[in-house]
Symmetry: D2
């Protein structure tokens, strides 16, 4: 077995996946520095994380645009340097090789799961990967209505094998395929994915580590950094209003009121946990196509201080969403691969710093999440290093 690992992206031809792909190639070749990666900060220099050049990329998608073409589009929008894309032309052309069409066989959903799991297994075996991490970076789906099969393995199995039944939304089909293929899993969107209890149980039974949900990249990151300040100082937050402007594919997706509902709920959950449920927190996401992949977020906080005196804070955050998210995707791949190597399974709560709505944790304060992640990563790194040493020793005997 080699020391290579795999990143398998659901939505592999989207903006975020393409940025991740460009970034991994650039890091592997040493023509980009790992700015924006938590796992590359000096604190973790001694943790045995996967080197960038050891990470293979593949994935599923439902569209056909080539990665290279997509990359040129991103460069035109100013998100990545055109020269970088030109430089990586060959690598990006190669990247299409391991992207498969997400299955929609028209037969049973179990057939779809089987086909997608096979794709992942083939990726692992052909490339001799020790671990694969599946990351869902596809477009946000409307949340499905709850139903008994989401809580009952027996019922789920029955529905999955009944032709014509579509019990799982696409993101959960992908999650089921990851479990079946024995891959670790990260849910970077607010879609159902592996959030369904029956799938989390499957993953735990299969001893798979997983983490989610909904990448904490911009405005929500900022909020979970700022809100604890008000709490620590005993200041009463009265309202926290937010306006988000974004273009790109994401802007269009989130203009759909159904799709956006899961996003808005996810965005506000941490805020309410930190400053209280009675805080007025109106929040909007508007599709502003001319902004392209830039996301602009304005927040207005109104608080009451000592003797009733008013405090207002406004923040305006402006950044390319995909370049904020892509390094976190790479972080998750490296961290979950390490968790796998350490034999951990179930929801890894200590990865909460990467998510708006952390599975297995009710800690939302970013500084505390960061501390928990740092401690976990160091601890897990030591464990893996010890295992590796033991294997080497055993191999040497």
């Amino acid at each position: 077995m080699t020391n290579r690992i795999g990143a398998w992206l659901i939505g592999a031809r989207g903006s975020l996946a393409t940025t991740t792909t460009i970034g991994l190639h650039a890091l592997a070749r040493g023509i980009a520095t790992p700015v924006g990666l938590t796992t590359a900060t000096p604190a973790f220099a001694s943790v045995p994380l996967a080197p960038f050049e050891s990470i293979a990329i593949g994935g599923h998608d439902v569209v056909d645009i080539s990665i290279l073409e997509k990359a040129h589009g991103l460069a035109a929008g100013g998100m990545v340097p055109p020269a970088l894309v030109s430089h990586l032309t060959d690598s990006l052309r190669e990247s299409d090789r391991w992207i498969r069409r997400a299955s929609n066989t028209g037969r049973t959903q179990q057939d779809d799961i089987d086909a997608m799991a096979s794709d992942i297994e083939a990726f692992a075996s052909k490339l001799g990967l020790s671990t694969v991490v599946v990351v869902d970076v596809s477009s946000t789906e409307p949340l499905p209505a709850d139903q008994p099969a989401f809580h009952d393995e027996h019922l789920l199995r029955e529905r999955l094998t009944t032709p014509g039944q579509r019990v799982l939304p696409p993101s959960s089909v992908a999650a089921a395929a990851a479990i079946q293929a024995g891959a670790a899993y990260a849910g970077f969107t607010p879609s159902a994915g592996m959030s369904l209890p029956v799938l989390q149980q499957r993953a735990a039974d299969a001893a798979i580590p997983f983490a989610g949900q909904d990448g904490k990249t911009g405005e929500t990151l900022l909020r979970t950094v700022l809100a604890p300040m008000f709490a620590a100082r005993g200041l009463q937050v009265r309202s926290w209003a937010g306006a988000n402007l974004l273009g790109g594919g994401d802007g269009a997706t989130l203009a759909d009121p159904e799709a956006v509902r899961s996003k808005l709920a996810s965005k506000n959950r941490g805020l309410h946990a930190l400053v209280g449920d009675d805080v007025i927190a109106p929040l909007h996401i508007d599709n502003v196509p001319d902004l392209g992949d830039i996301k602009v977020a304005w927040d207005h906080v109104n608080a009451t201080g000592f003797l009733g005196s008013p405090i207002t804070l406004q923040t305006t955050w402006s950044a390319y969403d995909s370049t904020l998210a892509a390094p976190l995707v790479i972080d998750l791949v490296r961290a979950l691969a390490l968790a796998s190597q350490a034999g951990q399974s179930g929801a890894i709560a200590e990865l909460g710093c990467f998510f708006k709505d952390p599975w297995g944790s009710d800690v939302h304060a970013f500084a505390e999440q960061t501390r928990l992640f740092q401690e976990w990563l160091e601890r897990t790194g030591i464990l893996v290093a010890a295992r590796v040493d033991a294997e080497h020793a055993s191999a040497a005997r």
Copy 2:
């Protein structure tokens, strides 16, 4: 001995001291809630901190305006409710009783120190206070040029007792008086105060706990909350520019380029510690009298993310500076009184969360400071509770 403690304010007739005085009266009478006090957050419910009604207030000043008159002025400016000032008229009239003129005998500075120390001692003994905490809340002074007497007890003593010599700036005369009176001390301004090595040595020799320096109330608080986010995520901050607008007396004082120098240095120190010394960080404070006691701070952060993509963050903070600061002054009085009761002395590094430029600590990240303070306060609280129990037991025998 009673359980009463004393707060002795240097600059007792200024905006901040008056707000603190109004606030303590209102808290003691139960007509205000302790919003804005760190020590009143739920985390510390079991710590034996001084109740508000047990805190007496006195202080020194060089001006003669009555506290009541000053309070009416603050109410007119919108900082505190006029009805509250009316309600507290009698208490505020009383407040002048324990405010003494800061000494400037025209003889030696040691004579001034003696006179001021006597004032503090009389306050403690007449009111039967178990502990007095001196807090410097006076206007920012220009920083004095360094000189040998700031480092040499022998030399200092000689200069203090030579008529006509003015070796110490006023804030340090006050600090020396605090030490001589055996009071704990907090330096809420960036003035020299107890920052001189020779005075810190005196304080340590006298087994006095002290903390400083320069209250972290608004923009700097925000910066030390935000900067660690960039660091944790591995994002490269390139520039962090700031503009501060304020009126009131503070605005006029800080319009003096000499006085403002210590303030600006103090404000930027934490930022550079958190995001690196090569970050461009221009910073201005402008006197805008029409804003009264409101401080408006705009910050513009330019950072580089993954693959060189730009990230900008702007923040605008608007608040009455004195109502942000007053609860911290009360926090410091309660915390340093507890430290005294626990027998601690020297610089209490764990109070760093209250200061722009923390003595005895190089931790600037606010979340970490908060955690250190919380652990310290709980630990110290348990110690004091145990002592009190022991005293009671011993008294009961």
Copy 3:
């Protein structure tokens, strides 16, 4: 006949009407300066506008709170100085005298109109007023669906006199009463009011001057000031997004999606007229009760400059909405009274600078509107002065 004129406010007990009432009393007594009144700027010093002390106030409302009580509430929220309200106690107590209950007889709508017109006529005759100006400052209504009676006098009359029929929304009942009473009329809200063609025709037939619609106070004012800059410089505005936060009664009213529709349409009309229909212009109004009567508006403009280079402009406007609007109400009363005296009738297009959606004009650029208003006011003032002189001369013969 005296030289007194009357202001008759629909919604006479609301925040805006109460602020207007407080303000007129204060101006009449000389204890406030006419800050915020366009008609009191130096340009118009020689125009024979009604002096403040000659303006009587009355109005209709459906609620019963006394003006004094309402005024105390506004003072508590920080909008007007508490001392001013105390000072004007007697005058404000008097103000209830001429406020009548808006009629809802339960019989025909014509009966309601008759009753309300009688109220206005009684106000004019008892107080010997030469002119009355009715201003609709009531809460925004949902817009009624269009119907034939809005376009046909005969049909309208029939429906108005049929018991049980409620063809007109309340704001239009009030407008019809104004016409019937021979009063000039200003529509300060986006409600139907006098915007119905059949009522505008009635007003023209009755030789009544009127103006509307929807007071241009804050964000829209700013937009119609800024948008012409982009146009003049040939810069291409791509998107203009807006977020409005407000509390008070207005915030609650506008949280109703039906009521807000007319407001949002009205707010965006000028913008599209100035920068083009293809500009993306998402706009939200959120009810944030803790802000009280303060309205905070954030706008984000994205434009393309020379050679495709990006330009962004953000604005944040924060102000008490009623104190922005009240002086405009007084301006409209003075200007429409002058128009009456000059014998003008129909929609006075030159008053467009006061409205989001100006009747009789497609000029939205504020600077141009201001110029047109100035020219009109000077011209009309000269006309009125000449008439007065002629009357005096005739009276003297």
Copy 4:
């Protein structure tokens, strides 16, 4: 004589001149649209302005970097599209042909003037240009102390011809050369240039049209758009604070307190003219190299409304300064060439909309300036068209 005209740029290798050069080539070839040009707005479709392809470019500079190299640098900084620069490679290579070294003969300043005037005359005669417009777009100079020779032609002439004397700053040497060469002149910087009375007199005597001073591109443009709104509405502006962040060469130049003085004075002049001299208006320009050619300006306006209620407005403007300015340079070339053709001379006050500190005018309100410019341009266009017709008629005889 051909119909070609010439643009002669002082500082021809700087960011602004290079952007202007790129832009003119792109416009001439029809591969850019005239976004950002006032003279290309639909209002002026019928004015006989010089077509872009008829404008030749030359100029003086003291540095040697090639235009193509400079253009690549600007593209790298994101200001102009890299593809555009590649596309224009040949044209940009050509552009160096007519750029001469600004003279500094080491002999008398009159010698320098003679040499520079010769350069301009050679440009005109070799290329058969009917008119040349000199535009000063060089770096801001410190303002020279006033002296008698700035007011006395005789004295000036004497000093200019005395070896070793350096009576004029470089920008005024260039202005004198323009006059001597019979070229029209625009002062786009706040440097002395043609602002010296003695030079304005020379220009008038030479029947040369000229305009200045200091291009109104960003923050000042915004201020002269917004300030008239407060005035029109009778609102009292109390303070208007500004913070400017910029990198590029301009940022470094303006970090020099001497050089910045003229800039700051120029920026605030219009503001004070519009809202009054007693408005507090602190203003800073900070050099923030990482922003490159982007200028970020934050303004905070505090005003008092009706009954003393507060109004605050914040604006944040972010744009590439050179792409804002370059189209105005082209506008000025076209407008001054037309003025020349119409036989106008002296300060053309109607070009005030382009300048922070308009020569010959005290109108600062942008909307009014725009109206004056539009009327002037239409009027002048008709005049020129009539002349041309007359010439044709005369030629045809």
